[in-house]
């Protein structure tokens, strides 16, 4: 036993030309997978964004584009009516939408995460939330038009119950109906993102809190909310962006003054043929979007509760 010969494999020096370079092969394989998608995104995203920038620096006079190197259009976004105002209004609608849909979504997500025990029932309920999320966007917006309109279900019901004598016009064609419709559209998404956060909360934490004498509200406010809020905010930022850029709801259920920034861009292109202005607004929104992505990344980093 004592004489057991332990020898290390001897190092053979010198280059052996027969061996192919693994690194070079690996690199070639990587390029095989990587080049097609990068080419695609270059042609259909980076080049268009660059062109957007090029157009934004020029001027349109009498529907004819003249190239230029002026930042005037960007200045106009912040000085001329109605651009900045509409951007702020869109942001306000987006913010209300994301907050309201989170409030709507929380009870359903909570029930799904904590009160449904059976796995199959959970899957069915999960599908029930997903279905309205994927159901046609246009149809969902249009549905509220039929519900809220002067001849709609809501007014018919109110009149039928004798609560009002003539149709109430307040329901439709204003900012309220836009926010309501957008909230309706984005609630399923909020449910999904909040639910994902609540599922992260380990069962043992809830048991520990109960064991230590906490009431249900104390568990919600001291354990569940603090752990889930960062993810809820991340989901809320996506809701905000989507609602911010919406142009369907303002046209279908909004009033004459509830046009949002996407409607303005469409009008600049289709009616005014002011390309450079549309491009400038587009770039400002892209910048806002990127800032928002970084903000949400930063927020998550900052507030994320490490489990």
């Amino acid at each position: 036993m004592a004489q057991a010969a332990l020898s290390l494999p001897s190092q053979t020096g010198g280059a052996r030309p027969a061996v192919r370079s693994a690194r070079r092969i690996e690199r070639r394989r990587m390029l095989l997978w990587l080049v097609p998608p990068i080419a695609w995104f270059t042609v259909f995203m980076l080049v268009p964004y660059a062109l957007l920038f090029y157009y934004s620096l020029g001027q349109a006079e009498d529907m004819v584009f003249t190239p230029g190197l002026s930042l005037r259009n960007f200045a106009r976004v912040f000085t001329d009516e109605p651009y900045l105002g509409v951007i702020l209004k869109s942001a306000r609608i987006g913010l209300m939408t994301s907050v309201l849909s989170a409030i709507m979504a929380y009870p359903l997500a909570f029930c799904l995460a904590f009160h449904v025990r059976s796995a199959s029932l959970k899957f069915v309920l999960y599908l029930l939330v997903i279905v309205p999320w994927w159901a046609s966007y246009l149809v969902k917006a249009y549905a509220w038009k039929t519900i809220l309109g002067t001849g709609g279900i809501l007014n018919a019901t109110l009149q039928g119950l004798g609560l009002t004598h003539e149709p109430v016009r307040l329901f439709l064609y204003n900012e309220f109906s836009v926010v309501l419709t957008l909230t309706y559209i984005f609630t399923p998404f909020a449910v999904l993102s909040i639910y994902a956060q609540l599922e992260r909360v380990p069962t043992s934490l809830i048991e520990a809190a109960r064991n230590l004498g906490a009431s249900a509200w104390e568990i919600v406010f001291r354990i569940v909310l603090p752990i889930s809020v960062p993810g809820v905010i991340a989901g809320g930022i996506i809701t905000f962006s989507l609602a911010f850029g919406d142009f369907v709801a303002p046209v279908l259920v909004g009033g004459p003054d509830s046009l949002m920034i996407s409607n303005i861009v469409i009008n600049l292109l289709g009616v005014a043929f002011d390309w450079p202005m549309a491009a400038a607004i587009g770039l400002v929104i892209i910048a806002l979007g990127l800032a928002l992505i970084s903000l949400s990344g930063w927020l998550e980093e900052k507030t994320q509760v490490r489990l």
Binding site: L138, V139, T146, Y184, D246
Partner: protein, 266 residues
């Protein structure tokens, strides 16, 4: 024991939210069978008239076909280019990887109209005539992130050991893809294809500015909705909802994971 709080209180609130989610859709579905020219109460009796009329409407039938055509193209694009991207992101580290991921995900956060404006300026510059194909390219770009993230998530779940085992046993790149990677991701790829098709079938924000003379179904629906609210619109809407729901449910069952279905589709 995970449940806490008053069970009845929680479930009734949750049921109320579910009702809020379904009531408007049900209204449309119910009125698509209403025997009246006018969408609203009272309910005059059951009819399939609007569905019959819809199937005689050339404009709608053509746009349905156009949407299917665009959707299939979008699926093809997102598989041909999204799948390699997912594999590359999973297997390799390369300079600019983070930036690449950001760019891929950008269309989710940006308003679809902005993606549309950028692509439109590109098409006009290189003199592409607007057609169903320009829509296809635009949607393909915007929806590629679905395939990439779905497949990437599955690849990450699979881990490296299978790939390493295959390479260790002497598989070449094609054999590795054919016998290990593809079978592993098949269900999530299928799910992603269905989701991409379904979103494309419903897409309007990117499509809006890129449409030429031929319309997709949402564009046709859009013009109908702006003009008038006829029961025929309810019938179209019901069918559109039905189709996307069927596709999504199949897709969900196929990929039966938690990480699906959380993308912006507009």
């Amino acid at each position: 024991m995970r449940a806490f709080g008053n069970h009845i209180f929680v479930t009734s609130l949750a049921s109320a939210v579910l009702f809020f989610l379904y009531a408007p859709i049900l209204v449309i579905v119910i009125f698509s069978f209403n025997d009246s020219h006018y969408t609203g109460l009272p309910f005059n009796g059951f009819t399939l008239r609007w569905y019959v009329e819809l199937f005689h409407d050339r404009q709608i039938l053509t746009s349905i076909w156009n949407s299917v055509y665009v959707g299939l193209g979008v699926v093809a694009i997102s598989v041909l280019f999204g799948l390699p991207a997912a594999i590359a992101l999973d297997r390799y580290t390369f300079p600019g990887k983070t930036a690449f991921r950001r760019i891929v995900l950008l269309p989710i956060v940006l308003p679809g109209i902005i993606t549309g404006v950028a692509l439109l300026s590109f098409y006009l510059t290189v003199h592409f005539r607007l057609s169903l194909h320009t829509i296809m390219l635009g949607q393909g770009t915007a929806l590629m992130c679905i395939t990439i993230t779905e497949v990437f998530a599955r690849l990450q779940q699979m881990g490296k050991s299978q790939t390493e085992a295959a390479v260790n046993l002497g598989a070449n790149e094609w054999e590795l893809f054919r016998h290990v990677t593809l079978p592993g991701i098949a269900s999530s790829l299928f799910g992603a294809m269905l989701i991409a098709f379904s979103i494309s079938f419903d897409e309007i924000a990117v499509t809006f500015l890129l449409t030429g003379r031929e319309n997709t179904l949402p564009m046709t629906l859009w013009s109908l909705l702006r003009r008038e609210v006829t029961p025929e619109v309810n019938a179209v809407a019901t069918l559109v909802v039905l189709v996307s729901v069927i596709l999504i449910v199949i897709g969900m069952y196929a990929s039966r994971g938690k990480n699906s279905a959380s993308y912006g589709n507009h």
